[in-house]
């Protein structure tokens, strides 16, 4: 597709369940980012995949959060044993090449609600 695609668009689950969020970046983009945005708040950096280098996981809030990027394309963010404070919109972005001077292209996000 032309843009960053995220699925599902909405996810409602019970506290304690595991969830998987998917991001399909723009074709050919080597850098992929995950952010979390709570209602009315800014973007909280979670993790960054940079080509073939080791990912920057410095923003993951706890060991319940993990992410992988297989084949340098699709990425999955997994949250285990979800808690109510995990409720937020999870945004994925990609950029053509690595570097802080690269524009990031965002998907529409996954709105996660933990009951």
């Amino acid at each position: 597709g032309a843009g960053v695609s995220q699925s599902p668009s909405n996810k409602v689950t019970e506290k304690g369940k595991d969830v998987e969020l998917r991001c399909d970046p723009i074709s050919g983009h080597t850098a992929l980012y995950w952010y979390r945005q709570s209602l009315g708040q800014g973007l909280e950096f979670l993790i960054y995949f940079q080509g073939n280098s080791a990912p920057d996981k410095s923003g993951l809030p706890s060991d319940r959060f993990s992410a992988e990027r297989t084949g340098g394309s699709v990425s999955t963010l997994t949250i285990q044993r979800t808690q109510q404070e995990d409720s937020a919109v999870y945004l994925c972005a990609s950029s053509l090449v690595t570097g802080s001077n690269q524009p990031q292209h965002f998907g529409d996000g996954t709105r996660l609600s933990i009951l």
């Binding site: 950096f45 960054y48 920057d56 524009p103 965002f106 529409d108």
Partner: protein
């Protein structure tokens, strides 16, 4: 800790009035980017500034990067209802390849 702050947090204006949001970093930035997020939407890249004192314009929007490369501003002339949204600045606060997003300024424009 290191952070990027924006003021104001919220701004209500009448259509036709001007609007400015200010972005301040705790450290010098190699570059700064601006994004706009419409209500219910995702952030969309607007522009990047790299040089000290740089000024760039996009129609009614004027972006400026401070001389010390620690602050930036976005000025909208004669706001329209289409300008509604939250404006974020972002910069490589910790160096490396990731961006730290500012706290954002939410703009509401009333007819």
């Amino acid at each position: 800790g290191q952070q990027v702050m924006q003021i104001p947090q919220y701004q209500h204006v009448q259509e036709g009035e001007d609007f400015t949001t200010y972005c301040n970093s705790s450290t010098t930035l190699s570059n700064i980017q601006w994004y706009k997020q419409r209500p219910g939407g995702h952030p969309v890249f607007l522009i990047q500034l790299v040089k000290s004192g740089e000024v760039k314009k996009q129609k009614r929007l004027t972006f400026q990067f401070g001389e010390a490369k620690k602050n930036s501003s976005l000025h909208i002339t004669a706001t329209q209802t289409t300008d509604v949204g939250t404006y974020f600045c972002a910069g490589p606060l910790e160096g490396g390849n990731k961006l730290t997003f500012g706290t954002g300024t939410q703009l509401k424009v009333e007819l």
